[in-house]
């Protein structure tokens, strides 16, 4: 499956849900006070913009934004699992983040296909841009 840029109705629904979940967890983090939580909330807001904005460069690198956001949310969940605190609002925020990761994975699968294939392809493009040729198996070349 190759990456596509046109949106089907279900893609739009998924994207709206993703943005809603991002803004939801951003809001929760913004109410917690302290520098770390405020920066976390700002990070989520930036991610919400990046995932939705119809800008050429954002569309081109949406695959990276999806993977980055999945990593960001996973890091937030693991960090919380390690140090807590374990109370109702935190459980709600983590449930939102788990759902967010699941929807991002679905969105990635629908829009970009296999992540390994995408990353390999992008690395190949990067190597070509840097003036290198992919390894062909000829030693010393």
């Amino acid at each position: 499956m190759s990456p596509r840029s046109s949106l089907r109705p279900l893609d739009v629904v998924i994207r709206i849900a993703i943005v809603g979940l991002i803004l939801g967890t951003a809001y929760i983090h913004s109410t917690l006070g302290g520098l770390l939580f405020t920066l976390n909330a700002l990070g989520y807001v930036v991610a919400a913009v990046a995932i939705a904005i119809p800008l050429g460069i954002a569309i081109r690198y949406r695959w990276f934004i999806r993977l980055g956001l999945m990593g960001y949310a996973t890091t937030a969940i693991v960090a919380w699992a390690v140090q807590g605190p374990y109370y109702t609002t935190a459980y709600i925020a983590k449930a939102i983040e788990v759902t967010l990761i699941a929807l991002l994975a679905i969105d990635f699968a629908r829009m970009d296909g296999n992540p390994v294939t995408v990353i390999k392809s992008e690395l190949g493009l990067l190597a070509a841009k840097l003036g290198r040729r992919p390894v062909t198996g000829q030693a010393g070349v």
Binding site: T31, G34, T74, P85, Y86
Partner: protein, 127 residues
Amino acid sequence: MKRTIAILGLVLVAALGAACSSSAAAQPSAPTGPTSDGPTIVAKDMKFQTTTVEVKAGENLNLHFDNQDSAPHNVAIYTDSGASTPISVGQVVSSAKADQVVPALKPGTYFFRCDVHHDMTGTIVAK
């Protein structure tokens, strides 16, 4: 892709499982016996207004917590600043008061903090 999703799912389940087990393990058992009235700790402007609290050793205390911030805070008492052994973990509240029963402390110095904001700390001296 399915494999990637499966791995990601396992990581999340493991993280949430760790959270649930930590939550259960971190809760100290409730004290029994008579309880005397204890001090009030106030949280305001993202810090504890009193950072050193003296209490009477050898008897259960009813500790009062007054969170005047809209941000959520609690009072969690640990044996030391490593915060690995909890003695009493108070409820997390926002713009509210909460009481917690602290089990009888042996004479000594104990560490307390807000579990949400780890830079909010203080010391309890039991005499």
